[in-house]
């Protein structure tokens, strides 16, 4: 039985479209029952049912009477959050950290993947990969401890430079420290996905290109880049969609009294507030605020990428 191609199912009227859909579903029932069902059920049960919790952002949540019994306070949590005197500064710090992190941190795994692909000896390549992935397993707290030791006025970095800078007290240095240590830790691990996608670049095509006299740049341009282009786009959109979601742990661990001007971001501020308040509604409200901005950014970026990438985006 040959499957009709997608185009012949173009609908002419509402009911015929519905009919065509049902026909399709019946024909391809396995797709729905076997492939999609488990994921769908899990999503509904574990993601949608608890979603009522989003309402907590608008309430003074009282766990004993649940989400629907709690006192409704509308946007007061948001007001409180947005009217804190330094709100703009926290927002700016969050955005700067995220955007610059993206700028520097996003290309690094891609670059690594390309570099790794140049290694001809498979065993060497694998050994190097192992080394590159190791930093990923160090916990954030320990990483920050090491960073502090390395950057102390009497630490290794200063010794190498022959200077005496107290890097951790300098607000200007914070972002660099944060981003550089992030790249150090995550670039190797992040390159895995690109390496996997690169393996899709057919060796035949590469050989063909080499025979045609292409140099490395041209090989990359004609064969390797197209192979991972889609993956890169998707990763990029997702990264943009997470700009507001910087966790507090690392920034908190790298904070000192004197670098707060750049190290106090939204999540560290909320965490410190939460420590004393235990205000569940407030922290949910802030999370919601971040999410809304993330979604707006994601949708915009997705549209932009689709225009540049032949209509292929996240959705």
């Amino acid at each position: 039985m040959s499957k009709p191609s997608a185009n012949t199912l173009a609908p002419r009227s509402g009911s015929s479209k519905m009919h065509n859909t049902l026909v399709y579903v019946r024909q391809h029932w396995q797709l729905y029952l076997l492939f999609m069902l488990p994921a769908f059920v899990l999503t509904i049960v574990f993601r949608y049912i608890p979603m009522g919790g989003v309402l907590i952002a608008f309430e003074n949540y009282n766990p004993f009477v649940g989400v629907f019994g709690s006192e409704w306070v509308g946007f007061s949590h948001f007001q409180r959050f947005l009217s804190s005197p330094d709100f703009l500064s926290y927002l700016a710090n969050t955005l700067k950290l995220s955007v610059f992190g993206l700028l520097w941190g996003f290309p690094a795994p891609i670059l690594l993947a390309f570099l790794l692909n140049r290694i001809l000896n498979k065993k060497t390549k694998q050994k190097i990969q192992l080394v590159l992935y190791m930093p990923n397993f160090i916990s954030v707290i320990v990483l920050c401890g090491i960073v502090r030791i390395l950057l102390s006025p009497t630490g290794m970095v200063n010794m190498l430079l022959g200077t005496n800078y107290n890097f951790m007290t300098m607000p200007q240095a914070f972002r660099t420290i944060y981003i550089a240590s992030g790249i150090w830790q995550g670039a190797g691990w992040g390159s895995i996905i690109y390496t996997a996608a690169l393996s899709n670049a057919s060796k035949d095509l590469i050989e063909a290109a080499v025979i045609d006299g292409a140099n490395i740049f041209q090989q990359i341009k004609t064969v390797e880049w197209p192979a991972i282009k889609d993956t890169v786009m998707i990763q990029f959109i997702m990264a943009v969609g997470n700009i507001m979601s910087i966790g507090f742990e690392k920034a908190y661990a790298l904070q000192t009294d004197l670098n707060m001007a750049s190290s106090e971001i939204i999540s560290t501020y909320v965490y410190k507030k939460g420590l004393i308040d235990g205000d569940y509604g407030f922290s949910t409200a802030v999370g919601l605020f971040n999410t809304v901005i993330n979604v707006i950014l994601l949708i915009s970026m997705n549209s932009i990428v689709k225009k540049m990438n032949e209509g292929k985006g996240i959705y």
């Binding site: 509904i44 949608y48 049912i49 608890p50 979603m51 009522g52 919790g53 989003v54 309402l55 009282n62 766990p63 004993f64 009477v65 649940g66 989400v67 629907f68 019994g69 804190s84 005197p85 330094d86 401890g145 502090r148 030791i149 102390s152 006025p153 009497t154 005496n164 107290n166 951790m168 007290t169 000192t256 009294d257 004197l258 707060m260 410190k272 507030k273 004393i276 308040d277 235990g278 205000d279 569940y280």
Partner: protein, 555 residues
């Protein structure tokens, strides 16, 4: 399907889901059905008939997880004829899990034994009807706690909120009293007397002499290294700026008005005429900071003082590199207690010490134990909890017990001078005291008053020497009439306090660090004051003034 339809479908899904989620809260059924009508005689311990109550508590990781297997609770069950069904949470997971426990009406027990709730939590749970006020139960069913309150009424006042409700049973561990209280100062300054002797220097008594001593440490570094065989460079003075017991501002107490900066959280002191003041606005603070910067400029202060963490600070100290350092107890930092002594207060303009906030009524944890609204017979629960306040029981709950068959105990049961039973701290050999304590103690609500020492229990060793230091060296210089107590504010005020306090504290801490590190001009100081005003310092101080005035009125 077009986008609009998809979105509306999803919205419908979300609504349904939210409805389902909302039903998760359930209500609190029954609860407190017997309330205050119960006859005290019915619940006097030991009970005539065995009864069961449900409690929640915590245990340190790698120790006994079932409380009923601990000697203390075994004995209590025999004594009272009350069986307790326990739920437990491992200590290191407590902070994250307790919220969830308190929101789960199905599994909530009758009482939370070792809760340690802060004011905000207590008020929140009170408002939500999760916990019940216990002042009337204390009156009727808790004679031991009542006696404690009679002996130390200031604690009773601190337990009550502005409406006179007591929402939790307290933890009280008095060591010393008022001006001799062990919490008089957290960041005790210590000086390396071995080095002083070697360099033939006298113990400094003024800020100038102190500066000279530090300079001598710095200049004779090579000799000190050689004499004492030290790995690593000599550091005349080390500290961790703004970090509680490691903060160096105890040194500036003698400048200006003599307020110092005893409290690295709130930075507030009370003058002798009852006025609450933020010490960061005082002349003394300004002069003291200038002086500290002067020390820093002469390389007398550890360059890592602004960024190091506790373990780095300790590691350097343990190899004997410090001349002066700060901590609760020098034993934590120096290789040994030998060759170190507490540094007496330095005279600058005056010679004084300002007590740390709440030092006079210290060793107090307001929200230690709560009774929940699901308890069917709160009178019984309270009566059982009252057993914890029996004078010979409290020290055991707090520190450990006696007469266990296996291994070491914290105590042995001896007698005091009157021949009555008294717990005596026992030698532990080479066992770590912490481990033995954690294996045996149960914490929870209790009260150990200063008057108990020598009568019901001996003083713990590590407390004994610190109390002596305080009494001998610091109390004589403590002339402060008042000490800012530990207020139980209304929920609104608690929120304001935490909001303003967070920003103001941050501003002050940054100024301290930056100014000692880089120095500051008069313009910087003025800007600093202006920033504090922008963060509503006046409102913050007024808040504390309000509560302090009320507190005075109640004396």
């Amino acid at each position: 399907m077009n986008k609009r339809r998809i979105i509306s479908l999803v919205l419908a899904l979300v609504m349904t889901a939210a409805l389902l989620a909302g039903c998760g809260g359930g209500g609190v059924g029954g609860g407190n059905s017997k309330g205050l009508e119960v006859d005290p005689a019915e619940v006097a311990m030991p009970l005539a008939e065995k009864a069961t109550i449900k409690g929640l508590t915590r245990f340190p990781a790698n120790t006994e997880s079932e409380p009923n297997n601990r000697t203390i609770f075994k004995r209590l069950e025999e004594q009272t004829n009350v069986h307790v069904e326990w739920r437990t949470i491992q200590s290191d997971q407590w902070g994250d899990k307790i919220q969830l426990e308190m929101s789960n009406a199905k599994t909530l027990p009758d009482f939370v034994f070792d809760a340690g709730f802060g004011e905000a939590d207590l008020l929140k749970y009170a408002k939500n009807g999760v916990i019940i006020p216990v002042e009337e139960y204390i009156d009727k069913y808790m004679p031991n706690l009542k006696k404690v309150f009679e002996q130390a009424p200031e604690y009773k006042a601190m337990c009550m909120d502005v409406d006179g409700h007591i929402w939790a049973l307290p933890w009280i561990e008095q060591l010393g009293y008022q001006k001799t209280a062990i919490q008089l100062l957290d960041n005790m300054p210590f000086i390396n007397t071995a080095w002083l002797d070697f360099l033939k220097l006298e113990m400094p008594t003024t800020v100038d002499e102190f500066e000279q001593v530090l300079i001598a440490f710095r200049d004779n570094a090579a000799a000190l290294k050689a004499e004492f065989g030290i790995d690593g460079d000599i550091i005349p003075m080390s500290c961790i700026m703004n970090d509680g017991g490691q903060d160096p501002y105890i040194l500036i107490n003698g400048f200006g008005e003599g307020y110092g900066d005893p409290d690295t959280w709130k930075h507030m002191v009370v003058t002798d005429d009852g006025k609450v003041v933020c010490d960061a606005t005082s002349e003394g603070f300004k002069k003291g900071t200038e002086w500290l910067h002067k020390l820093y400029e002469q390389n007398l202060i550890d360059v890592e003082a602004f960024t190091q963490d506790w373990s780095t600070y300790v590691a350097k100290g343990k190899s004997g590199r410090y001349g002066v350092c700060f901590s609760w107890d020098i034993g934590n930092i120096a290789p040994s207690l030998e060759g170190w002594e507490p540094l007496p207060m330095l005279k600058a303009d005056v010679k004084t010490i300002t007590p740390d906030t709440a030092a006079y009524t210290s060793g107090f944890n307001r929200g230690r134990c709560v009774v929940t609204s699901v308890a069917e017979n709160p009178a019984l629960v309270c009566s059982w909890l009252d057993q914890m306040y029996v004078p010979i029981q409290s020290p055991q709950n707090n520190w450990g017990t006696y007469g266990e068959d296996d291994g070491f105990d914290i105590f042995t049961m001896g007698t005091n001078s009157n021949g009555d039973p008294m717990l005596q701290h026992a030698p532990l050999g080479d066992k770590s005291p912490v481990e033995v304590r954690e294996a045996e103690s149960v914490n929870g609500p209790l009260a150990i008053l200063d008057s108990y020492y020598g009568v019901y229990v001996t003083l713990p060793d590590d407390a004994a020497y610190r109390l002596k230091w305080i009494e001998d060296i610091y109390t004589p210089d403590c002339h402060a009439k008042y000490c800012l107590p530990n207020f139980f504010m209304t929920q609104e005020d608690t929120t304001t306090d935490s909001n303003l306090g967070a920003d103001i504290g941050k501003c002050i801490n940054e100024f301290k660090s930056r100014s000692v590190l880089e120095g500051f001009t008069d313009a910087d100081w003025d800007q600093f004051q202006a920033d504090l005003q922008a963060y509503k310092l006046d409102e913050y101080v007024a808040l504390y003034q309000k509560y302090f005035d009320a507190y005075l009125a109640n004396q």
